[in-house]
Each structure stands twice: as structure tokens, then as C-alpha cells.
């Protein structure tokens, strides 16, 4: 038996609804036989008709509703149909949800699910990566699972977390990533922990979400074709950063490349590189590098799209430049 990434998300939602009466889901087109634009909630409203609730097209109010419900003791999970549309909820997320605990001392345990990332032919408004602009304001936990097991357990733990969690799920992984077995039986890592997905000694490669898989294939190529041993770190939680795990690896390798599918300016890799440069300067044997998307909106046409996003080959090149420095 294999489980896909989206099936793991659905399982986490179903199990959370079953186990905790405080959990409810609110979002566009999530109820009924339809079960969401990506089917992440399919079947759930049949089991929990009152707790899987269709919302109108109003991301600001959806988020406000979740904030109110969270403050009043529930564990709302909201789904944005695409992460891109969370821009409408920006204010409620960064100014309301994120500040509630600090201002009131009362936690605001909501989870916002953001289907993000590039898929071919989806264009400038259905492919964006939201983690950077939701990370600058203090008060939000921002996670981006890259594996099926993480999709399950990080969503369970996001719901269990007392703070507002931005749960960035990668649309490409939904049906393209499958793992053997039941994710419930897989390892449950702490929500905030980064993890070494592949050990190595020549260079640290930091990533998260779907780009992790490009990093893992790059690491394979680097090992087989270039004899370069790469340690691949999956951040999992991009805010706050598990800097200890990153620095520990850099201490070993002395070199680092950070890869993302997102735009470069002020992205997660900028923060990771800045932390490393400040805190592990003496450990570095080469300049830290970033591999990011081209700094334009995401084009729809497949050739442009392919050129816009980083691939394993780009990562291989960046690592080679780094180890040859």
C-alpha cells in the first residue's frame, strides 16, 4: 500500500476531526462530494457534516472567523484554494492571528493550509510560494512538509500547536509523491525540527518542500558523477528556523547551498544564509550560495516555466561551484 501526499493530508484532517471535537475545517469548495479543489477534504464532510464548512470567496473573513474560533477554544483549519489567494488574508494573518498571543496572552491555535508551488501551465497566480511574506512578521509558525509522513504528522502537530501555523503544502507533491505504508506509522518528528535527509561531508544542501526532492536527486548525481558527498537538510519548519541543525551540518561540511522554488529577494534562503554567515562564519570554507527561481512572476508556457524554476541540474552546478571554491 502506498499513500500520496494529499492522501496523508486528508488522513491527518480526518483523524484530527475524529479525535478532537474542537477541530473544524472552513474553506472554499471543501464540503460535499466535491471535497476541495485538490480533494484534500474529500469524504470528510460526509463523516463530519457540521465541521467541514464551505466558505464564500472571502479569504479575509475566513481567516477572521478562524481567529475568533481559535480564541474561543476551537482548533480551526482553514483552506485557501491556492496559496496565492492568501494574499487577501495577509492582514488578518500577520496583524491579527500573529499578534493575539503576544497582545492578550491567549493562544490563537489556527492552521491555515496553503496549497502552494509551481505546477505546469498554472501561471503567475496559481504557483506562488507564500512562505517568505508570511514569515517576516513575528507570531506565525510557517511549515512546509516535503514528505508524505511529514504531510501527515506535521499537519496533526500543526493542529495540536497552540500558535497559528501556516501550513504550506506543495501542489505538485499532492499526487506525484507517494510513500509506502501508512504515514501514521512513520516517524513523528518535532514540528519545529529540521532533519538531515541524507548525510554527507562535502557540502550542506538546505531546502524544504518540493525542492527537497530536487536536492536529493542533485545529491545523487553529485555523489555518482562527481564524487561529491552532500548532506541534505530538510528545514520542514521555515519559521522559526532550526538553526542548530543547520549550523551543526555546516560545521561538518564548511560549505552550504540553500535551494528554494521561491523568488530570491528576502526569501527563506536569504535568512538561512544570513544566519550562517553571522553565526558560523568561521566554519565556512566557501561562500554560501542560493538557488532560487528567476525573479519574475511565474510564466504559464511550459518552456518559460521550466526555465523559471530551479532544477536538480542548477543545484548540482551551485554545489560544484561551492566545493570547487
Amino acid at each position: 500500500m502506498t499513500t500520496s501526499y494529499v492522501e496523508a493530508i486528508r488522513a491527518a484532517l480526518g483523524d484530527a476531526l475524529r479525535d478532537d471535537p474542537r477541530v473544524f475545517i472552513y474553506g472554499q469548495d471543501i464540503a460535499g462530494s466535491f471535497g476541495g479543489a485538490f480533494k484534500a477534504t474529500k469524504g470528510l464532510s460526509e463523516l463530519h457534516p457540521e465541521r467541514v464548512i464551505n466558505a464564500p470567496i472571502c479569504e479575509d473573513a475566513i481567516t477572521g472567523v478562524a481567529i475568533g474560533a481559535a480564541i474561543d477554544g476551537m482548533r480551526p483549519v482553514i483552506e485557501f484554494q491556492f496559496a496565492d489567494f492568501a494574499s487577501i488574508a495577509f492582514n488578518q494573518l500577520v496583524n491579527h492571528a500573529a499578534t493575539t498571543f503576544w497582545r492578550t496572552g491567549r493562544p490563537c491555535p489556527l492552521v491555515a493550509r496553503l496549497p502552494m508551488g509551481g505546477t505546469k501551465g498554472s501561471g503567475p497566480f496559481h504557483c506562488q510560494m507564500p512562505e517568505a511574506w508570511l514569515s517576516h512578521h513575528p507570531g506565525l509558525v510557517v511549515v512546509a512538509p516535503a514528505t508524505v509522513a511529514d504531510a501527515y504528522w506535521m499537519l496533526r502537530d500543526a493542529i495540536a500547536c497552540d500558535d497559528p501555523v501556516i501550513f504550506c503544502e506543495h501542489k505538485y507533491l499532492y499526487n506525484h509523491l507517494r510513500e509506502t505504508g501508512d504515514p501514521r506509522l512513520a516517524e513523528r518528528l518535532p514540528l519545529g525540527a529540521a532533519v538531515v535527509r541524507r548525510a554527507g561531508s562535502d557540502c550542506t544542501l538546505v531546502s524544504y518542500s518540493a525542492m527537497l526532492h530536487e536536492c536529493l536527486s542533485a545529491a545523487g548525481v553529485l555523489e555518482q558523477e562527481h564524487g561529491v558527498s552532500v548532506e541534505v537538510i530538510d528545514l520542514r519548519c521555515v519559521r522559526p528556523l532550526d538553526t542548530a541543525t543547520i549550523l551543526e551540518s555546516v560545521a561538518k561540511t564548511g560549505r552550504v547551498v540553500v535551494a528554494t522554488e521561491a523568488w530570491p529577494f528576502g526569501g527563506i534562503p536569504a535568512e538561512v544564509v544570513a544566519v550562517i554567515a553571522s553565526e558560523a562564519f568561521h566554519l565556512l570554507d566557501a561562500p554560501p550560495r542560493r538557488v532560487c527561481a528567476v525573479d519574475t512572476p511565474i510564466p504559464v508556457q511550459p518552456d518559460l516555466y521550466a526555465a523559471h524554476r530551479p532544477h536538480a541540474a542548477d543545484i548540482v552546478e551551485a554545489v560544484l561551484e561551492t566545493v570547487r571554491f
Partner: protein
């Protein structure tokens, strides 16, 4: 209540008016007066440079806000209570709902003893345990949060018609332009929540008059577009406000769905303590009375209270506020060295999963 929306409404409201008890009228007067006195004290503190930032008074809106407050039920032991998200000019409603003058002043002085612990100030205060959501500044952001509380309660089976707890918040004429309010009202109407929006049309949004804030004949005409029940009232008139706001709240409690009250009144001060409001035209000022003065006069005229009683009441309230100010002034400021500067409630995400299930009551 002019204009009322239908003959049926008008009749019901006349009946409501007759049904206002002496106790309710007096309580209403008390909270309106107390709000005025609290506001005056805040201005005194501001003028003596004791308030970091500005003071936003409710001058001119006490009567309307008190009409909200007297109809609300504060949470208490065994009582779930209403949920209220006050804005800047709801002082009287806050007080009636359970906020103490002491906490008002503490917050304005930035004291660590206040509910906001010096982190947030002036009108940006609330206490979740007391059923009061602390506003964020972004106008229009609170109604959807109130809706969320009500939805939570519905899911827990805690909305019990025909005597349900309700959710209430206000918005100014200016704030009605926000998309956030639109989204929230639409959701509230769809969910048929026991919710009341009080639109305080005080004729001006900072320095911007109604003609640049909306172009409909009357803001109450927005109600039908959401499927809300609309009420209108003269927000400077105690009885009118009590009947309309009370009627709307009672209807929401009975399960008749969300309600919208549009009150007409005038902001009798600057936008905040920093604003001399020189832009206010005399014509507007001539059109509106001071609700607090009108309420006192009416109470005397109707024999609800006599002059001696009123004087005693005023003295009692002034003493209360004076004492609160004295207490607050003596209290500690937050200490940056001891503040925990924590923005997340989860002590350690590297230790999660851990025992979190009970953290959120």
C-alpha cells in the same frame, strides 16, 4: 428611530419604547455618564503627558454605546456571556459590559497591571476572559472574528435560542467602506449567526464626511443586500438608541438572525486627542445635540431621577474614576528586562509534539 424600516418595525419599536424599565434607563444613564467622566479623565492624563500616544474619546457617542452595553450579558461563572469587539468609541458599552475604569486607565498609561500589560494601548484593549476581543487597528477586521467566536459556540452547541448569547461589534461610517466588513457580514448572514452590528454614523471619518465615504441614501440600505435586518436610530437619543439596539439584540437572542443598527450622531471631539477638528462645519454641529446632556435632561424631565440624585450619581462616578486614576498611576510599568518578549505561546517547537491538548480550554 428614524427612519424605521417598515410599519411593522415602527410598531414593534413603539412597544419597545414603552417597555423600557426605569432600572434600565437609569443603568443606561449611569454608563453614559461614566464613559464621559472616564474620557475626560483620560484627556486630563493626556494633557499632562502621562499617556503614551493618543486618546480616542467617545464624546457624543456615549448614549449609543451605553445602549449596547446595558443589553449585553457579561460572561461569569457558569454563564457563557456575550462576545463583544468594541471599537474606539464604545467606552460606555465596555464599562457596562464589565471593563473597569481602572483597566481603561491602566491601558492608557501603559501599566503592566492592565489587560494589555503595556504592550498595546488606548482603545486597543480587551480581555478575552471577559468576552471582549481587543481590536486591531485595521478597521473592519473585528466582525469576522466575532463571527468566529459565534461559529465556535454553535459548533459546541452553546447557542441556545430563543435566549442565546450574541456577538456584537460596531463600525463607523468610514469603516463601512472596508472590504473586510463586507466579507464578514456576508459570512454572518450566510451562517445566520446571532450577531449585531452597530453602525455609528457620526458623520465623519477622521476628517472625511459622509459624501466621500458612501453614496447610498442611508447606510441602513446595506442591510437588505446581506439579508440582515436593518434598524435605524437617533444615536443621541437615549430612548431611541435603547429601543433600536435593544430590539436588535433581543432579535438576535431569539434566533432571528443577524441585525444591523445604523445610528445617526455626531463625533463631538477631534478624531483623537491630537486633532482639533477645525474642519468640522458649524452646520453639522448645529444639527446634533450632546447625547449625554440630552439624556440627563430627559431623565430629570421624566422624573427618573431628581437633581440631587443626579448630582450624587455624578459625584459617585467621578470619585470612582479619580480613585482608579490614582491607583493606576501608582502601579508598575512593564520592565523590559523582565518582559518575556515571547511571541509564540508554544515554549519549544523543537520539543513538539508534547502535551498540548489541554493548553487551549
Amino acid at each position: 428611530m428614524t427612519p424605521s424600516r417598515s410599519i411593522g418595525d415602527a410598531m414593534r419599536l413603539l412597544a419597545g419604547r414603552a417597555g423600557l424599565s426605569r432600572e434600565l434607563r437609569l443603568a443606561h444613564l449611569r454608563w453614559a455618564l461614566l464613559a464621559r467622566i472616564v474620557d475626560d479623565r483620560l484627556l486630563t492624563l493626556y494633557n499632562s503627558a502621562q499617556v503614551p500616544g493618543n486618546v480616542f474619546t467617545s464624546r457624543g457617542q456615549e448614549v449609543l454605546a451605553a445602549a449596547m452595553g446595558v443589553h449585553l450579558r457579561a460572561p461569569g461563572p457558569g454563564a457563557i456571556g456575550d462576545i463583544f469587539a468594541p471599537l474606539i468609541r464604545d467606552q460606555a458599552a465596555r464599562l457596562a459590559f464589565g471593563e473597569t475604569p481602572l483597566d481603561v486607565i491602566r491601558t492608557h498609561l501603559g501599566k503592566v497591571t492592565g489587560p494589555m500589560r503595556g504592550r498595546d494601548g488606548n482603545a486597543h484593549r480587551g480581555e478575552l476572559a471577559k468576552g471582549m476581543l481587543p481590536m486591531i487597528s485595521h478597521l473592519g477586521a473585528m466582525p469576522s472574528a466575532v463571527a468566529g467566536v459565534l461559529l465556535a459556540r454553535r459548533l459546541r452547541g452553546a447557542l441556545a435560542y430563543p435566549d442565546s448569547c450574541i456577538g456584537i461589534t460596531s463600525i463607523g461610517d468610514g469603516g463601512t467602506a472596508t472590504g473586510a466588513l463586507h466579507e464578514a457580514l456576508n459570512v454572518i448572514a450566510i451562517e445566520k449567526l446571532p450577531f449585531v452590528l452597530v453602525v455609528a454614523n457620526n458623520q465623519v471619518s477622521y476628517s472625511t464626511f459622509n459624501d466621500r465615504s458612501f453614496a447610498c441614501r442611508d447606510l441602513v440600505d446595506r442591510a437588505i443586500g446581506y439579508g440582515l435586518r436593518g434598524w435605524s436610530c437617533d444615536g443621541t437619543d437615549a430612548v431611541d438608541s435603547l429601543v433600536a439596539v435593544g430590539g436588535a439584540i433581543a432579535a438576535a437572542r431569539r434566533g432571528e438572525g443577524p441585525q444591523m443598527v445604523v445610528a445617526s450622531l455626531l463625533r463631538l471631539a477631534g478624531h483623537g486627542s491630537h486633532d482639533d477638528a477645525r474642519y468640522m462645519p458649524a452646520e453639522l454641529k448645529a444639527r446634533f445635540g450632546d447625547g449625554v446632556e440630552l439624556a440627563q435632561a430627559a431623565a430629570l424631565a421624566e422624573g427618573l431621577i431628581d437633581q440631587a440624585g443626579l448630582d450624587a450619581l455624578l459625584e459617585e462616578l467621578r470619585a470612582l474614576v479619580r480613585a482608579a486614576a490614582d491607583t493606576a498611576r501608582g502601579e508598575a510599568n512593564p520592565d523590559p528586562e523582565r518582559d518575556d518578549w515571547r511571541v509564540l505561546s508554544t515554549p519549544d517547537l523543537l520539543a513538539m509534539p508534547g502535551p498540548t491538548a489541554e493548553a487551549n480550554p
